[in-house]
């Protein structure tokens, strides 16, 4: 402790230096005028706001350096509002700084701890109160109260049950079934292999049953990316290769990491990049993850052509699409 080291003594608060406005009445008048000007500028700001709000054409755009071409009405009401508020503030602060007393004042701090007598009195009161409640002598009341209170909380939790349905098996299912046609998104046109050049991509969806509308929940699971390479460029095992068709390969567009749409295809490197967290997938190796936080490759959709020559899914996805979850079978 610094008990052995004697500290320097406290010289006390420094001398108060008077401001110009305190001594010189002309300076005080000048400060008063300055405050008044600031408050008036606020009024000007309000006027600018009112004028811009009612009289400036909302389709008028003007050029301001740095900002570029900007909407005049928006700028007018914005600057007007800003000025009307700012100058009240500047005025009030300038008034306080120049004219209000600036002598530093000292106030005492009292120890936050209560007086010992108060503390004792509190303890007495609390004890007396607790004793008169009689909890200590009546354990049956205590226990039954605890049980009732604990149980009473349950309805609050149970009421939340209908917030949503149970997941069931829905996370494992998509709209892709054996024979579902691949259609363009948007446009819903079926696709022939010859429609895609080597190096082309297409955003596809499963064909809808007539009369049905595609919902966002469907899109969140069904979105597929179609990519065409040369068959020789694939480095796939026999089974995965059989899921491609003449160099065309299909992957779920929903990132296996956190569900963003992975459609950023680099033709030169044959890599897919997810822009959310930069997971990178190698298309030639069935979307194997080569960089970034994704832990699993994108699920591949097995495709072939039907009798009319349009691309169809051979079978549903063999694994759940999208981000992982506890019950997911890897």
């Amino acid at each position: 402790m610094s008990k052995e080291l004697e500290p320097l003594s406290d010289p006390g608060l420094p001398e108060h230096i008077h401001r110009k406005a305190d001594i010189d009445p002309i300076a005080a008048k000048r400060a008063e005028r300055q405050v008044a000007i600031l408050f008036s500028l606020s009024a000007v700001g309000t006027l600018l706001f009112i004028y811009s709000f009612f009289f400036v054409n909302e389709d008028l755009f003007i050029f301001i350096p740095i900002m570029g071409s900007t909407n005049a009405q928006q700028l007018g009401i914005g600057i007007g509002m800003a000025a009307s508020l700012l100058f009240i503030g500047f005025g009030a602060v300038h008034w306080a700084k120049t004219l209000m007393p600036d002598q530093e004042v000292i106030a005492e701090r009292h120890e936050l701890k209560s007086e010992q007598s108060d503390r004792d009195a509190f303890v007495q009161t609390a004890k007396a109160g607790a004793e008169s409640a009689g909890l200590g002598r009546r354990p049956l009341i205590k226990r039954s109260l605890a049980a009732a209170a604990g149980l009473a909380g349950l309805p609050a939790v149970l009421l939340l049950r209908d917030l949503g349905p149970l997941p069931g098996n829905s996370l494992n299912e998509t709209s892709w079934k054996s024979g579902t046609r691949l259609v363009t998104d948007p446009g819903d046109r079926p696709i022939r292999p010859s429609d895609l050049e080597v190096g082309a991509v297409a955003q596809v969806m499963p064909e809808l049953a007539p009369g049905k509308k595609r919902t966002l929940e469907d899109i969140a699971k069904d979105a597929v990316l179609l990519i065409r390479l040369r068959p020789s460029e694939f480095q796939l095992d026999a089974e995965r290769f059989s899921w491609t068709y003449e160099g065309i390969i299909a992957f779920s567009k929903i990132c296996s990491h956190m569900g963003c749409a992975v459609a950023l295809y680099e033709q030169s490197t044959k890599h897919l990049l997810c822009p959310c967290h930069q997971s990178t997938f190698d298309v030639t190796r069935a979307a194997k993850v080569i960089f970034g936080p994704a832990a699993r490759p994108l699920p591949q959709l097995a495709i072939t052509v039907d009798a009319d020559g349009f691309l169809i899914a051979k079978q549903p996805f063999t694994e759940a699409v999208g981000p992982s979850f506890w019950e997911r079978k890897s």
Binding site: I17, R19, K20, A21, F61, I66, M67, G68, S69, T70, N71, Q74, L75, G78, V93, K97, T98, D102, T184, D185, P186, G187, R189, I191, R192, D195, L196, E197, V198, G199, A200, V201, A202, Q203, I227, A261, A263, L264, Y265, E266, Q267, S268, T269, H271, L273, P275, Q278, T280, F291
Partner: protein, 264 residues
């Protein structure tokens, strides 16, 4: 020599010397990195456009792309890429590439329109490929639908080029450039040829009419003034956050310092 020693300590000596060194450095740099001059044919090259193109090709392109455009290590084969690719790459200045980095960047074109047409004709003569377009025949204003184009852009283009077409990062230093300020024909040709890392968008998956809509939306976004004030690059929350921490807090803390400072 006397001049130098006489004015050695002059107060303008150092700034002038600095200015001179900077100019010399800049001049040397610009000379060293100057693109080859577009010193085109001598007057006797009145042969067909294709032959003209071949001459230009041999002079300016064959060192990377091979004497017969078959590819030569650094540059890929151009057989089958079509006039569209040539028009896109050369008329936007991407080719000839200035430095061997990951990506050819848009810069001032080296060859003029006539030379580009010649090169395109030559490459097109090697093998069939997508044809080049002129701005006039891309009737985006008449036939395009802005709203539909926006939907298509967000579905097919925004993941690389960003929601406002400002461009975005790809892996290993590649990037999708901004699509602002690009001629309609080049946008069209890029979609059908898939330059460098960009994939091809076939006419069957994005129809020509849809491509026109995309161009119309791009042009609309390009000419759209920023409604709310300075656009801050149209890249989203990163620049917005930067502005708060610099201008926003800077102003507020500065005012707080003024507020608590002692007045004279």
């Amino acid at each position: 020599m006397k001049f130098i020693s006489k004015y050695r300590k002059h107060r303008f000596a150092r700034p002038l010397l600095l200015l001179f060194s900077l100019c010399a450095l800049g001049f040397t740099f610009s000379v060293a990195t100057a693109a080859p001059s577009s010193n085109s044919m001598a007057a006797d090259a009145r042969s067909t456009l294709i032959q003209e193109g071949q001459q230009i090709f041999l002079k300016g392109c064959s060192s990377c792309h091979g004497l017969n455009a078959e590819g030569a290590g650094v540059g890929p084969s151009l057989i089958g890429v079509g006039a569209a690719s040539v028009d896109f790459q050369v008329a936007t200045g991407r080719m000839p590439m200035q430095d061997m980095s990951q990506q050819a960047m848009r810069k001032a074109p080296v060859y003029d329109e006539q030379e580009v047409a010649a090169l395109a004709a030559y490459v097109a003569s090697l093998a069939p490929g997508p044809r080049a377009y002129t701005n006039e025949e891309i009737k985006w204003e008449r036939d395009g639908n802005t709203a539909e184009g926006g939907e298509l852009f967000r579905n097919n283009c925004a993941m690389c080029h960003n929601f406002a077409g400002q461009g975005g990062a790809l892996t290993q230093g590649k990037y999708a450039p901004t699509v602002m300020g690009v001629e309609p024909r080049h946008i069209y040709e890029a979609m059908i040829t898939g330059p460098q890392a960009m994939p091809v968008f076939s006419d069957k998956t994005i129809t020509p009419a849809e491509k026109l809509s995309i161009i119309k939306w791009i042009k609309s976004a390009e000419s759209e003034p920023s409604l709310g004030g300075a656009p801050l690059g149209r890249v989203g929350p990163v620049t917005e956050g930067l502005l708060v921490w610099t201008l926003g807090l800077g102003l507020l803390i500065g005012i707080a310092v003024w507020l608590t400072a002692k007045s004279r």
